[in-house]
Point group: C2
Chain length 379, copies 2
């Protein structure tokens, strides 16, 4: 770097206008549950350029309610960029001047990838509950086909994900040892514990008890919106923290709403009800059932109860980051992954950040977090 | 105590068969919200005997889903005794050989006291949402009328309650200084914080979005059972702790249920769904709305933001007990009450118990807790 450059450091830019693509896999795909589909679609986006050696690809794995659109905008009218736009872009911590970034919507999802709302060509209507049960390993296997068939990759510079994305990157390391050179998992866990299963099940019950669910058979736009909104509101609380909510909302009241005494009165109620409503416009209730079940079935401890039995296959360097205020996947659950890796003699490190914003801390622009990711990915 | 007695200590007994009574207050009762009812009913039970000096009465205040039946059985066929039967009885920590114990169902409730499901004599049908909004202070004022009119009490030896019962006993100390000589509050708070308001609101939304809620107008037995069950399932998680749930359930699976892939699969799901179902048989959904709102409005910090401004009126000796694993009303919120009392120069003490069972720890038979209560009440 010359003096002029060091005095005027490059201002990080945005990836700008982006578009999605659909990867159509036309070979039969057998799920962990034993069922087979004749093929599947994964919707994905890419940013930056794949180099000639094909060794600069970074895979981003999204969380339960995320999607393939993790950076940039789809049109100049877009009010919000992709969900990790703060992290990914030219000159940003995951630098698209340097890396070829790929992010796909998970199998079982509802944002363009095959899932229960996709059309079953044999019946001409959506799969509904005939869609095979999906596991985290299925999601990863579908991503592997995308990377190896569409891009002919034989390695990833890194795989990065938080929450369910963290489960996927761990699974990447186990299923395809050495394929991903670096694995970064944030706010994640080696298995779903009873409390988290319990919260997911309440959400599923809320959806299934909505008369519009109709055993999973509903027309697009006429689904169990009410149940899905309740599920989302509850889940959203688990993504925050008591302190974060207190700082943001406390007991602030909104402008009074005459009439129904149980209308939203406190700002926190208003916020959550809005979150519930906006979710139903972008998410399919059956996908919510499928993906939460995939989470609940995730268990790297397996029958032996020893995570080492799964993790010993790993050949990647691993960084796991936990957040003190995350009570969905608390720091201990993150740290336990690294301890198990270290017991297997693997190259793994754990960082814990003091952020008040709960589980969703990994989605926020936090310089301390981004610096950790940047240094690990560039090392 | 003679030697024979000390060698064969009395085995604590049960209060045995008990029955409830209804206190009918026939004078107009004006609620904090400004509305007036021509009178009200409180259903209550008593155990032990009121002494001639009328100074041995102990008031028990119940939590959100509790009732007046806190000890003994109603018939020999009863499978479960009252909810605090472990604590209350002859020779138990709250010794009915010594104290006259009174417990009433709260105003706004649905177990015999006046609430939204009570018949409005002017219309001949239930009040539904015409029932006045209820506050914790209203509940306490109704209890005061029961104690002073029915039993002509001018003092309480003690008032004891956990969770919402803890809010009531604090309100007792503030509204009627010196009436209760001792106040014991367990797993409680000086105000409802944003996260707890948020959970309550999700529960309310689940109820109100059930088509059977019908703006609060439903026939007995045809109410929003589905919404109420979801609300209860979610709330039940907040009464436990992650560690407690993990120890009890972990990832244990129940016998497989063919068919619906989203049927209860893990034991924790089975348990919660059972909790939801059994709740709808004993609780009215409108009462759930009213009482959770009473909780959310509870705020001893008031406009000044200083709990001392409320607590300085207190003339009772106060014991507050927090539980380390309680994340609904965490230890700090309990401790803060005592700190504020001490800043006012009051006689108050805080104890914190390491129990893994979360908020509901106060309901469990824990010798360490019961010893604290016994010694404080007998002192």
């Amino acid at each position: 770097m010359n003096d002029a450059q060091s005095m005027t450091p490059e201002i990080p830019g945005d990836v700008g206008l982006v578009e999605y693509h659909d990867f159509l896999c036309e070979q039969p795909f057998t799920f962990d549950c034993g069922k087979t589909l004749p093929g599947f679609v994964l919707r994905y986006e890419t940013y930056g350029h794949l180099n000639r050696e094909k060794n600069n690809a970074v895979l981003i794995c999204h969380a339960l309610s995320g999607d393939h659109h993790c950076a940039g905008i789809h049109s100049l009218k877009d009010r919000k960029p992709g969900w990790w736009d703060n992290l990914i872009g030219p000159g940003k911590s995951i630098d698209t001047n340097r890396y070829f970034v790929i992010c796909s919507n998970v199998l079982g999802g509802c944002q363009g990838s095959s899932g229960p709302s996709s059309i079953n060509s044999q019946t001409g209507e959506p799969y509904f509950l005939d869609f095979p049960e999906v596991s985290i390993a299925d999601m990863v296997r579908a991503q592997y086909l995308l990377l190896t068939q569409q891009f002919e990759l034989s390695e990833l510079h890194a795989a990065v994900g938080g929450s369910m994305g963290g489960m996927q990157v761990l699974q990447w390391g186990i299923a395809y040892p050495g394929f991903a050179k670096r694995i970064i998992g944030l706010a994640t866990t080696g298995r779903q514990y009873a409390q988290t299963i319990a919260f997911n099940d309440v959400g599923r019950c809320a959806i299934m008890q909505d008369p519009n669910w109709n055993e999973g058979r509903y027309e697009a736009g006429k689904g169990p919106d009410v149940g899905l909104a309740v599920a989302r509101m509850m889940a959203h609380i688990t993504y925050l923290s008591d302190k974060g909510m207190e700082n943001k909302f406390g007991r602030q009241r909104k402008a009074s709403d005459q009439g129904n005494p149980f209308a939203a009165e406190f700002e926190v109620e208003n916020y959550l009800r809005y979150q519930g409503k906006s979710f139903i416009s972008r998410f399919d209730a059956n996908s919510y059932l499928y993906i939460t079940k995939a989470l609940d079935h995730f268990d790297l401890y397996g029958e032996s109860g020893q995570m080492e039995d799964s993790l010993c296959a790993m050949e990647s360097r691993v960084l796991i980051v936990g957040f003190t205020s995350d009570w969905l996947y608390p720091p201990e659950q993150n740290r336990d992954i690294v301890h198990a890796l270290l017991r297997c003699g693997k190259d793994a490190t754990y960082a814990q950040l003091n952020m008040d914003l709960g589980h969703d801390s990994f989605l926020l622009h936090a310089p301390e977090l981004y610096q950790l990711i940047e240094n690990f990915i560039n090392d």
